[in-house]
């Protein structure tokens, strides 16, 4: 090889490295001009921006889902007079009411300004709606839990106790109303964004998040000792819906546009999560292994929440996904 050819070769190597890593850090590197882009897009730079959210958001989706849906279980337990279950479910909702805002605030870039969330009410912003839903949930859950406990311990007697009972009922139903929204709005939150793999599945996401929340609430209550047939039935329902969603996700592919769901580490998180809270939880329940089914469901829905955040990060940095989604 002549000298010229050698330096050509070195140049090609550098270009390859620039392609792969985005940056060449070798000493004495002096490339005249760069590579002619071979992939669509501008040197592989992202077209939309990936989410800046970290682990707090995935955990918040999980805890908000459990808390919200356990308020629903509490309201059903009121109607069917399962006094112990009302208390356990409301405690679960109460803990979620405390943890959810903490997680949300931790994820803010400027936590001390978190109250600005309640400056405006914007129906066209799922984040704003979420802030108000969480506020409504907390406003009902905290007094609801207190009223339930006051009534249970008969702190007051006579008419006062009756009033407390009525208040408990009203607050628990209010908490259930906001709870169902709390568990499902998160799907809207990430579904109505510019990230292709998210917005292409905006119908599936609320179903998945809501159902995973319901199943997780039932699973958690079963694990702490409420092994009643009604919760088992909810467990079957949730695992069946999740299995159906897994099938839907497998067949509803959009090629490069949503490949983050089917490829990469993010794809594995989604798949593992969906198998754990879909078919596996269903089979374990069929064999009567209720605690194992419950654990499998809980882990599955936790993993899949993180999976969906990871999908957003992968899809948001993939220019070809954006182009493909707009050529659909």
């Amino acid at each position: 090889m002549t000298n010229d050819q050698l330096s050509e070769k070195r140049l090609d190597q550098l270009r390859e490295q620039a392609w792969k890593d985005g940056v060449v850090t070798d000493r004495g590197v002096d490339v005249a001009g760069g590579p002619i882009p071979r992939k669509p897009g501008y040197y592989g730079e992202p077209v939309v921006r990936p989410p800046v959210w970290t682990w707090e958001i995935g955990l918040y989706f999980f805890i908000g889902g459990i808390g919200g849906m356990s308020a629903v279980i509490a309201s059903a337990a009121i109607l069917f007079h399962h006094l112990d279950l009302i208390r356990a479910a409301m405690w679960l909702a109460g803990i979620a009411t405390i943890l959810s805002p903490i997680l949300l605030i931790m994820d803010l870039g400027r936590p001390r300004l978190f109250l600005n969330m309640l400056r405006v009410f914007k129906h066209q912003s799922a984040m704003s709606m979420g802030a108000w839903i969480l506020t409504g949930f907390g406003t009902c859950t905290a007094p609801g839990l207190i009223a339930v406990e006051l009534h249970f311990h008969h702190v007051f007697g006579g008419t006062m106790d009756q009033l407390v009972r009525i208040a408990a009922g009203i607050f628990v139903f209010g908490s259930a109303f906001f709870g169902t929204l709390l568990a499902t709005y998160t799907g809207v939150l990430i579904g109505a964004t510019a990230i292709p793999a998210w917005h292409l599945h905006r119908v599936l996401l609320p179903i998945h998040f809501g159902t995973a929340g319901l199943g997780s609430a039932a699973a958690w209550l079963e694990l702490i000792g409420h092994r009643i047939p009604a919760l088992n039935a909810i467990g079957y329902y949730a695992a069946a819906v999740e299995s159906a969603l897994l099938i839907w996700l497998t067949f509803n592919k959009h090629g490069a546009a949503d490949r983050a769901i089917h490829e990469h580490g993010s794809g594995w998180l989604i798949r593992i999560g969906e198998i754990l809270n879909g078919p596996l939880a269903l089979i374990l329940r069929l064999f009567g292994l209720v605690p194992f089914a419950a654990i499998s469901f809980l882990i599955g829905s936790l993993v899949s929440r993180f999976g969906w955040i990871a999908v957003g990060k992968v899809s948001g940095t993939d220019p070809e996904a954006v182009f493909a989604s707009q050529r659909l």
Partner: protein, 299 residues
């Protein structure tokens, strides 16, 4: 435009803010020389911190993309295409079957270097503005989209709601970290009758600032001019047919928008709300009913 000297709308004082006139940027890569004066002027005027000094290896562009601390970004495109009536010959580049231009070693090697100064598009329907839960992002008198730094709490929702990937949250340890930042359209300058810093310094008037209706007419005229002089792939990038309904900082581009990292059909994410909320409400009601049925039949 070129030749207008101090009469150009880039140099005159104006009262657009007071008069509530819609203004915009028209950015034309066919006259851009890639000097990056706009990037520098923007950083200086707005006191934007540096965002790292990396050598990218991508032509002479070490900026990469727009972000929280990059509000103007000059792209350096290297394309194996002809520029206007450019005369080309073999460049002695290595034979590469993947590229049709060089499939034949004796062929001509058309090559062009295109520079385009990218910026926040100040969308007619802005995803960032609609999604902001704190109301930090507002529309100004001149139709631009502005982030109020003291209101933003850094929730990061605008970041995933911008169809152009412009706005971003500024990471630690930079000054003012945690908030979302993007081009302000030099609102402060405009309020006192000045032209945005980038347009003011642009030596070739590749960036033109002015009344939006004026600019749109100029843009159309410029495309025609270029087409006539051999730039057959010149076109305007202004997605008026999509739900974004047009952008106030629009571009002339040579070739396809994809090559510039511009989405071919950008959509404002609020159009996805209806189906997503329908699904959410259906799930909410479904979960309630399923729970009630479970208690009814298995109690």
């Amino acid at each position: 435009m070129i030749g207008e000297g101090i009469q150009s709308s880039n140099q005159r004082r104006h009262s657009f803010v007071k008069d509530h006139v819609e203004v915009g940027f028209f950015t034309d890569p066919s006259v851009c020389i890639g000097c990056k004066a706009c990037e520098v002027a923007c950083k200086e005027w707005n006191q934007v911190p540096d965002d790292g000094f990396t050598w990218s290896g991508n032509s002479y562009d070490n900026t990469g993309h727009l972000g929280a601390s990059t509000w103007r970004h000059v792209m350096f495109l290297e394309q194996d295409r002809q520029k206007g009536n450019q005369i080309t010959g073999p460049m002695g580049l290595p034979f590469e079957p993947a590229s049709p231009a060089r499939a034949d070693p004796q062929s001509e090697d058309p090559f062009r270097w295109v520079f385009l100064s990218d910026v926040c598009k100040h969308c007619e329907e802005a995803g960032c503005l609609e999604s902001c839960p704190t109301g930090a992002i507002v529309r100004t008198e001149v139709g631009s989209v502005l982030v109020q730094n003291d209101v933003c709490n850094g929730c990061g929702y605008c970041v995933v709601s911008c169809p152009f990937g412009v706005i971003d949250r500024r990471p630690e340890p930079l000054p003012d970290a945690g908030g979302a930042f993007k081009c302000t359209f030099c609102y402060d300058r405009q309020k006192s009758g000045l032209v945005p810093a980038c347009a003011k310094v642009c030596p070739t008037e590749s960036i033109v600032f002015g009344r939006l209706d004026d600019l749109r007419a100029r843009g159309a005229q410029r495309v025609q001019q270029l087409q006539e002089s051999g730039y057959t792939d010149a076109q305007l990038y202004d997605p008026t047919e999509t739900s974004v309904r047009g952008i106030h900082a629009f571009f002339l581009i040579l070739g396809e928008p994809e090559a510039y990292g511009l989405p071919p059909k950008p959509q404002i994410p609020t159009i996805y709300l209806k189906s997503a909320w329908t699904s959410a409400f259906a799930t909410a009601i479904g979960s309630f009913i399923a729970t009630l049925l479970a208690f009814t039949f298995f109690s």
